[in-house]
């Protein structure tokens, strides 16, 4: 995505459904409920949707299943599967498709019943051939290998990791939509059951049900909708590997490149950002992405996140809904970074609403630190 696409599309509707446990509902049910919620929010109908951007954990052609379920016949479709980053990646293709006139109303959507379907969860992902023999437990083993190396090279500590989870919980405690809202201390995280050293159960994201959806239109007509538009100022992707064993540097993700290009396109810097929503599948993610996106130097992420610095009232607002660690994590979390960023800009966040948010980062991660996608979203004053 290049500068001439800056601000050319806008989010005019967001929605979600099935947070927590959605007993009796399928992944597609939850996807569709989310789509309806986002379209209602935008004052649009299903029949208005002519661009569909979707992937699911089920089936080999989930975007076709989604269109069929919704009863729509979209003229533009993107089902590119890059894991949890897919939905942030669709911001780019949706903007391109809208700007090119290939569609007029773009719907990005997702749903999962991962929690209530537990035990019969079907994943299309097989263990990589040169890794499976050693029985790594995915995805945690991949992230544990990255965390261990970060600790070795930079002196990052388990306390630093724990403080990421503590901060996420502190945000979640203000959010009635969050799944886990009880107080959490550093000691709780450290004494939680070790799952894959150095990561404990509380260093890992939740397993919940849930879905989310976002509606975009061309910026030139974005003001004709019930809510204030949230503009896509920049978006960029970079992928570095698929299998964790192919990651060149276990302490540096492709977010360094996706972030650099997304910020350049938006014409802003990390210092300008009011709120950061990033994919915190594990506590190490938050540290890696804050470093790689340029909010602190490589190796300083541990100190940067500690002692409440990314919690409410801290130096930088990170994952203001409680993130995948404490709010919601239905298999893939990426879409919720967009939804929370958009709501903070609109001023209708469900939890702690920050004052005067004009610029937000939504950052998606896919695979095992494999695919990184960064989007910069902005309010009316930024275009």
């Amino acid at each position: 995505m290049t500068d001439n696409l800056r601000g050319k599309s806008a989010i005019v509707g967001v929605g979600h459904a099935g947070f927590g446990a959605a007993h009796g509902f399928s992944a597609y049910d939850i996807m569709a409920q989310s789509a309806h919620a986002a379209l209602n929010d935008a004052g649009l109908k299903l029949s208005d949707v002519d661009g569909l951007f979707c992937t699911m954990m089920e089936d080999s052609m989930p975007v076709l299943m989604a269109a069929e379920y919704l009863g729509i016949q979209p003229r533009y479709i993107d089902g590119t599967m890059t894991g949890g980053s897919s939905f942030v990646n669709y911001l780019t293709s949706a903007t391109m498709a809208l700007e090119a006139g290939l569609c007029d109303v773009a719907l990005i959507c997702y749903g999962s019943n991962q929690r209530t379907a537990s035990g019969r969860l079907v994943t299309a992902s097989k263990l990589p051939p040169y890794e499976g023999l050693y029985s790594p437990r995915y995805p945690i083993s991949g992230y544990a290998l990255a965390a261990a190396r970060h600790m070795y090279e930079y002196g990052t500590t388990r306390e630093n990791l724990a403080d990421v989870a503590v901060a996420a919980r502190a945000w979640a405690s203000h959010n009635p939509e969050a799944f886990m809202r009880d107080p959490l201390t550093r000691e709780d995280v450290l004494s939680s059951r070790m799952v894959g050293d150095p990561l404990t159960k509380l260093d890992c994201c939740l397993v919940t049900d849930g879905g989310g959806a976002v509606v975009l239109v061309r910026a030139d007509r974005a003001k004709n909708f019930p809510n204030a538009p949230v503009y896509v100022l920049g978006s960029a992707a970079e992928s570095s590997h698929r299998q964790i064993s192919q990651m060149k540097d276990f302490t540096v993700t492709a977010a360094r490149e996706s972030g650099k290009r997304a910020f350049a396109m938006a014409g802003v810097t990390p210092a300008d950002i009011d709120v950061v929503e990033l994919y915190d599948a594990f506590t190490i993610n938050t540290i890696l992405f804050l470093e790689d996106l340029g909010f602190c130097k490589k190796g300083e992420g541990g100190a940067f996140v500690s002692d409440g610095r990314i919690a409410p009232g801290g130096a930088l607002a990170v994952n203001t809904n409680g993130g995948g660690l404490s709010c919601v994590h239905p298999g893939m979390y990426g879409i919720f970074t967009i939804i929370e960023a958009a709501r903070q800009i609109r001023g209708d966040a469900p939890g702690m609403q920050l004052d005067g948010v004009e610029l937000a980062v939504a950052h998606g991660n896919g695979g095992v630190l494999s695919s990184q996608v960064t989007a910069i979203l902005g309010g009316a004053s930024t275009v």
Binding site: L133, Y134, A148, R149, P198, F250
Partner: protein, 125 residues
């Protein structure tokens, strides 16, 4: 002589003979792993296989926690071979908690449930 086997089969053939063989690029000189038909560093398809030295070190490591009745905790690591390639492996012969990053390793062909596999143990001396 041109190999009749694809890269994966050729690697596994080496393992079944107790050898860790790795493809090296004729153009840029670098080794790579996993085996494939092109060099991931420069794109060349001119590759020659060499037997690895069987030495390396722990690049990063984790302990997968498992209930004792299911077999107990075990190690999963990334080993960096002296040839410069990394692969997933397991360090045997010591407790998972004693596997440390930077530890020198002897890398050998063992087996996991009857399948030949690259395994490691702490280097002697």
């Amino acid at each position: 002589m041109e190999s009749a086997l694809g890269p994966d089969a050729k690697f596994r053939e080496g393992l079944s003979n107790g050898q860790i063989n790795l493809p090296q690029c004729d153009d840029c000189g670098k080794f790579h792993f996993f085996p494939r038909i092109n060099c991931p560093h420069c794109g060349s398809t001119a590759l020659t296989w060499h037997r690895a030295l069987g030495t390396g070190e722990v690049h990063t490591t984790t302990t997968v926690r498992r209930r004792p009745e299911s077999g107990g905790d075990y190690n999963v690591c990334m080993v960096e071979l002296t040839e410069g390639v990394r692969m997933m492996s397991r360090v045997d012969g010591i407790l998972p908690a004693d596997v440390k990053i930077g530890m020198p390793l002897a890398v050998f062909v063992g087996d996991i449930d009857g399948t030949p596999a690259v395994l490691c143990k702490p280097a002697e001396g």
